[in-house]
Every structure is written in structure tokens, then in C-alpha cells.
């Protein structure tokens, strides 16, 4: 990152596209929580996660963008839809979609957003990263993860393994607790 900050008065094409994608992500995220139709919420989530992948693309993180689409759109949302369709999937508006905790949830969400935005703005106020194509290629990311960030990577893999074992234990009825 360099200290050379270009003027914000004349945004480049990349910045405009990034902003539009950001608006799309935030807008569809709002629709996810406000829509009255359960399945529509899951479909708006697809748009939201797709726009986020677009943001990664504009930031030259090509590999991360495609992994985002593969995992979140291709697997997580499909899993959500499967779960919804397996339990209840009414067509049309559902009256019981609003939780009683929504005021508290909104306060927590806004507070989290405020904290994150302040930290990011405070930390990177004048920092400017030039967007060179190829900086987010698979090769670069692989080299960085396995050279500089091996420890977090391994910690994450242990976490995932623990979750996996937990899921197996919970889903199997022939394994009993000690109680």
C-alpha cells in the first residue's frame, strides 16, 4: 500500500463498478431480511452473495470470487433452499416470518456495522492499494497462505475437523452420550 492518494473527485471506472456492486449487495441483503416470502429471501441471498463475488473480482481477487460463488451460491444457498423446501415452503406471503426479537436484532446489526465501519475507516483512512491484475491469482494466494499464514490456516483446519466430528456425532443415533 502506498500513501499516494488519488483524488476522489473523478472516480475511475473500477471504482464506479465497485460502488454499484456494493449498493447491489447491501440492497439485496436488506431485501433478504425484509421480504415476506421465505424462498424469495434465499434467492435474494444469491444476488447478495453474487454481488459480493463481483466486488472481489473488481478488487482483482479472482480466485476468491469464484470460490465464493462455488461455496456460497452453489452449496450454502442450495442447502438452505433444500432445508426450507423440506420443512415448509409456502408460495406467497407468510405472516409468521417476523421474529419478536427483530428490534434487538436490528440494534445489534447496526452496532456491529458501526464498529466495523469505524475500524476500517480509521485503520485505512489514507491507505491506497493499486489494483494490479494478477495480484489475486491462485498462485499468489497459494504462496501467501502457505508461506506467511500457515498457522491460521492449520488452526482453521482443526476447527473444521472438530465441527465435522461434532456433526457426525450429533447425526448418528447409535452413539450415546455418557449421561
Amino acid at each position: 500500500m502506498t500513501e499516494l492518494v488519488p483524488s476522489y473527485a473523478s472516480p475511475t471506472g473500477q471504482e464506479i463498478v465497485f460502488l454499484l456492486l456494493g449498493v447491489m449487495a447491501v440492497g439485496s441483503a436488506l431485501l433478504v431480511v425484509t421480504t415476506r416470502q421465505l424462498v424469495h429471501a434465499a434467492l435474494w441471498l444469491v444476488v447478495c452473495l453474487g454481488a459480493l463475488a463481483g466486488c472481489y473480482l473488481v478488487l482483482t481477487a479472482e480466485f476468491v470470487a469464484w470460490v465464493q460463488v462455488l461455496i456460497y451460491v452453489g452449496a450454502v444457498v442450495v442447502l438452505l433452499l433444500f432445508g426450507i423446501m423440506l420443512t415448509r415452503a409456502p408460495i406467497g406471503r407468510a405472516a409468521d416470518l417476523d421474529s419478536g426479537n427483530r428490534v434487538v436484532a436490528a440494534v445489534v446489526a447496526i452496532a456491529t456495522a458501526v464498529v466495523l465501519v469505524t475500524v476500517v475507516v480509521d485503520g485505512f483512512r489514507t491507505a491506497y492499494a493499486p489494483l494490479d491484475p494478477g495480484a489475486g491469482s491462485a498462485k499468489e494466494i497459494g504462496a501467501t497462505i502457505f508461506r506467511n499464514w500457515v498457522l491460521p490456516f492449520e488452526a482453521l483446519s482443526i476447527l473444521l475437523l472438530a465441527a465435522l466430528i461434532g456433526a457426525i456425532v450429533i447425526s448418528r443415533t447409535d452413539i450415546r452420550g455418557r449421561g
Binding site: 451460491v73 452449496a75 408460495i91 491462485a138
Partner: protein, 317 residues
């Protein structure tokens, strides 16, 4: 200006391929299936062996009334065929047919292809839910379950090739390909092709559309041009799967004597023939057999292939 022209020519070529090859595959299915069952198939449309049958079908579909059921969710119902079809068009942009003959050489092309192909299944889930029909809903659910279990062996088998080639770019993988990869990556190739068939919901993995029990599943309520788009998506999917298997496991444009793109076409249509052959030969798998094949058969095989690739790669340095 030359760059714009270059991009335009490439896109037009891809669009032409996208419009022509699925129809050829469809006609091939008509004919190959008919002859395997000792009958002739379409013989009249267009004159010579009924070559224009699919065009006639297309015209018929366009004239039909476009019915949207009263209980359906209209917006999602209308959007679903497009969500099913467009991903395959987008995937074709990165599939190489010869040295330098590719829409775009993406650095993470392999991941791009797998990611975008997964979106296509979303179309069938959307169609299943929005039809407001219990059979469609069951079909949509089965599609979702099938995608989730077969995505894993698909990605594992594909990553074995990426490991062997040391790159995620599709042209890069074909360039690195050697003839001895055929036996080396054979298990991965079979796993990839099988899992791909399941992701396309082709027989014998057509539990989600099983016409004899849930009446075409997600497509029950579709008529006219929307139904035709789903069929087009199926054949475009077959072409994409065959081309990908050719690129990843059969060496793409490599081959003696004939020019590269011709070899690529030969490989694609040989695989399309296998897809049709499998459809005619095997009975439909039951839902539990389907899941068992994925988790107890294909995933372990893909992991074996991954280990084999790693060992050979380390030994040969």
C-alpha cells in the same frame, strides 16, 4: 479497435457453437437411441433422415401457449429457465478448443467453470418450488440433494488434474497434458464424468425428473418455449460436460495427424455418444442408491485419485 473486434468475433463464435452443438447432440440422441432400440427415429422433417426434426420441434414449442399455473410464483417461475440455461453459455466462454482458440483464458478457469455450473442447478430448484405443484417440489428437492452430494466428487476429481498440471487455467492444463496422464488420471476421469452426469440429472441419475413417477419433476408445469429452454439447457449441459471431460482428462486438442479443433470435436462427440449410450442402457437409480453411490463410491475414489496424483507428482518431482 482490433481488441474489440477480436472479442466480438470470439463471442460470436461461442454463441454459434452454443446454438448449434446442443441441437446436433439432441439429434444424435434421437438417432442413436432409436437405432439402439431397433427403430428408425425421426425420418421425415427436412428430408434426409429427419435432420430438421429439432428445428421443427422448436417451431412447435414457440407456437404453443405459454401457461403459468394460477398457484405459481410468477416471477420465479419465469426466471427459472433462464437461470438454468445461461450458466452453460457463460461456461463455454472459457473452454479451449485449440491452441489460442478460447474465449478468455482465465487464471482460475477451472474454478470458474465448476462454480458457474453449480448455478445452473439453482434454475431447476427455482422451477420446482415456484410451480406450486407437489411433484415439482419433490423434483426440486431431489435436484438440490443431488447437487449437494455430487458437487464434492466433481470438485475433488477436477482438482486432481489441476494438481497434476500445476495450474487452474484450462488452456494451461491442456498444454501440460501428456499421453501417460490417461492411465494416471483414469479414476478421476470416471468420477468426474459420472458426477457430471448426475449434476445434469441425466439418466441413470434422473431421479429428480423421473417422468414415470413425478412426471418430469421441476418441469411438470412448463409448456411452450420455457420448456424448450429447459431441454436446450440439458443438451448444452451435455456438450459442456463432454467438452470439460475432454479438456481435463482426454488431452483436449492433442492428437496425431488431424488439426487440434477437429480432435476436440471428435472427443466431445465420442463422450456425447457415451452419455446417450448410458441413458439407453441403465435403469434409473433409486434416491438412496444415488446418495450411496456419491458418498460411499465416488468420494472415496476421488480421494484415492487425489492421493495417487500427489504421490506421482512428488516422485517425479
Amino acid at each position: 479497435m482490433p481488441e474489440v473486434l477480436d472479442a466480438a468475433v470470439r463471442l460470436l463464435a461461442i454463441l454459434a457453437v452454443f446454438l448449434v452443438l446442443p441441437l446436433v447432440a439432441g439429434q444424435m440422441e434421437h438417432k442413436a437411441m432409436a437405432h439402439m432400440q431397433a427403430r428408425l427415429g425421426p425420418m421425415y422433417a427436412g428430408g434426409f433422415h429427419g435432420w430438421a426434426q429439432l428445428i421443427a420441434d422448436g417451431v412447435k414449442f414457440m407456437q404453443k401457449e405459454d401457461v403459468i399455473p394460477a398457484a405459481a410464483d410468477r416471477r420465479v417461475f419465469g426466471l427459472a429457465p433462464a437461470v438454468a440455461l445461461v450458466p452453460y453459455l457463460v461456461v463455454m466462454v472459457v473452454i479451449p478448443v485449440g491452441p489460442g482458440l478460447v474465449g478468455v483464458d482465465l487464471d482460475a478457469g477451472l474454478f470458474f467453470v465448476l462454480a458457474v455450473m453449480g448455478i445452473g442447478v439453482l434454475g431447476s430448484i427455482m422451477a420446482g418450488w415456484s410451480s406450486g405443484n407437489k411433484y415439482s417440489l419433490m423434483g426440486g428437492m431431489r435436484s438440490a440433494a443431488q447437487l449437494m452430494s455430487y458437487e464434492l466428487p466433481l470438485v475433488l476429481a477436477a482438482s486432481s488434474v489441476a494438481m497434476a498440471a500445476g495450474t487452474l487455467s484450462l488452456p494451461g492444463i491442456v498444454e501440460a497434458w501428456q499421453w501417460w496422464w490417461l492411465p494416471w488420471q483414469a479414476i478421476g476421469g470416471v468420477v468426474f464424468f459420472t458426477a457430471g452426469l448426475a449434476e445434469l440429472r441425466r439418466p441413470p441419475f434422473d431421479m429428480p425428473i423421473a417422468e414415470s413417477e413425478i412426471i418430469m419433476g421441476p418441469m411438470t408445469e412448463y409448456t411452450g418455449i420455457r420448456f424448450a429452454l429447459f431441454m436446450l439447457a440439458e443438451y448444452a449441459g451435455i456438450i459442456v460436460l463432454s467438452a470439460l471431460t475432454g479438456v481435463l482428462f482426454l488431452g483436449g486438442w492433442h492428437g496425431p495427424l488431424l488439426p487440434g479443433p477437429v480432435w476436440m470435436l471428435i472427443k466431445v462427440f465420442a463422450l456425447v455418444f457415451v452419455v446417450i449410450w448410458v441413458r439407453v442402457s441403465y435403469p434409473r437409480l433409486r434416491e438412496d442408491q444415488l446418495q450411496k453411490l456419491a458418498w460411499a463410491g465416488l468420494v472415496p475414489l476421488a480421494l484415492v485419485q487425489l492421493a495417487l496424483t500427489g504421490v506421482v507428482k512428488v516422485l517425479t518431482g
